[in-house]
Symmetry: C2
Subunit: 302 residues, 2 copies
């Protein structure tokens, strides 16, 4: 059945110390879907406006992403404008034009209702709950969120958190959600809210994965050139869920390996603007970097 | 032969969001030596003043640290006063009273001159060079430094860097030394200065180890309670060198395992003020946490 991804498709304008990308392809669901497409079939539910360029549609199709659920509405596509300083861990949002995304009510096409793997990208938690109710018996569900929903809809968000299998959020969001500064305490508090499994993203420092009493730490792959961190977290989540869907291995070891594949995918995305690096990526490069990741982290069996 | 440690022994007054330690035992060489003493014999070269309490001498002796090289001079002991906010990665120095440490000229006792393992804690790089010239044929040498020497004596420091086997510095210092914001580029630049092997400490995010083209990433052990990060880096280095001296295994695998033992030691130190946690630490606890470290990081062979 592959993966169902629900979230935003956007046009981004991004500035980093190393250059700029003007009106390039962006959006959380775009990164999720493209990344996951290296591992499994992907169905995308999102909305774009009349201005959305055909070349981006063609690109998503070239990745074998099913676009039955991508609706085109009158109006403009969601546009995000942001800037990164030398501290590439944090974006400064310069402008957000929600446009057609403002009234987005995801409708899951009937043929997607039996999906096994579901990713809820960062959208209104009320909509995330709606999607969850439309998908019949998913095997694995994951969701992301953002600071805006943590402050404006904490109660609904907690319902979502306790309904999915994997919550994927960043370090600052985990602290905001729990008002705990210590990250392990924050994770324990989120588990106490009902989160089954929790992945905390720490930008250039990698991720921490909490499941029961177990903790797994994966570093970010050390890179000499990070051009544009936009979409790194979404690419991570796409690779993670894509790999899980591909193997169906939900053991602790399988999940850890999926986390490493997610980290590998993110490490490619940040090497170039927008999704450009993923456009010319192949599975051999992914496998080679996965092997490097093992050399990077293992100390007991080299 | 064990390890020779040259550096500072101090009295610290430290404030963190979780409490304060007034006039407690501190100093880089103190943390180094105590940490290393869990793995090997340690000889300490440092200076204290007339006010240095006998109980601290007794503690160091209880760890089997040889104090032939610890001289007591007229005047007061080096006193450091600092504060940490909720971001425990960075200390704010409130006061530094160098006292007898100001005129410290390390003299290596004749019986230490054949030492195999030498740690040069953070002291004037001119003094580090002097010590290096007094130790005949060390098998492994390591040094630390700080921002003050990077800005005031960069050329002498570079001589030290290219003379030792392991440079151990923190992330900010690596960036300052090279004016590179990207950490991998900074590491490559430091290797180009002649550093044979480089360990970059990243506080709560762990360490990166660069050797030739190889990179090893070790996370910090995730803790629910970090009370006082003072001495974490020095404890790391002491555990690292202590383990190397204990095993004599300088292979890539041996060095990586030493890095993990260093990380394990640091994770204990930060759990309480000053060296208090190390006072009641035993080798079984160290081994247990080393095993947890493997479960924390490995994804291929659990």
């Amino acid at each position: 059945m592959g993966i169902l991804v629900v979230g935003s498709v956007a046009i981004d304008s991004v500035e980093t110390p190393f250059g700029r990308g003007e009106n390039v392809l962006g959006g959380s669901a775009t990164y999720f879907a493209t990344s996951a497409s290296f591992f499994t079939d992907v169905n995308l539910v999102a909305v774009v406006g009349e201005d959305f360029p055909q070349e981006h549609i063609d690109f998503l199709r070239s990745r074998n992403i099913d676009l039955t659920g991508l609706s085109r509405e009158s109006g403009k596509t969601f546009h995000w404008k942001g800037r990164y300083g030398y501290d590439l861990n944090e974006a400064q949002t310069l402008d957000t034009q929600l446009n057609v995304f403002q009234t987005f009510r995801p409708k899951i096409p009937a043929e997607y209702a039996n999906t096994d793997y579901l990713i809820l990208a960062n959208i209104d938690p009320d909509l995330q709950l709606e999607v969850l109710s439309q998908v019949k018996t998913p095997k694995v569900t994951a969701c992301d969120t953002m600071n805006f929903w943590i402050s404006s809809k904490p109660e609904v968000l907690k319902k979502v958190i306790s309904s999915v299998d994997f919550l994927i959020i960043n370090e600052g969001e985990a602290r905001q959600l729990t008002t705990e500064t210590n990250l392990v305490k924050a994770a324990r508090a989120i588990q106490a809210m009902g989160a089954k499994n929790l992945i905390i993203k720490r930008g250039e420092y990698g991720v921490l994965y909490f499941s029961g009493n177990s903790i797994f730490a994966a570093p970010a792959y050390p890179l000499e050139s990070v051009f544009d961190p936009t979409g790194a977290g979404d690419t991570f989540a796409g690779g993670f869920m894509g790999y899980l869907a591909n193997t169906g291995n939900l053991s602790e070891e399988g999940v850890r390996q999926a986390i490493v594949y997610g980290s590998v995918m993110a490490s490619f995305t940040v090497e170039e603007f927008s999704l450009n690096r993923l456009r010319r990526l192949d599975y051999e490069q992914i496998e080679a970097r996965y092997k490097s990741f093992k050399r990077l982290t293992h100390f007991d069996t080299l």
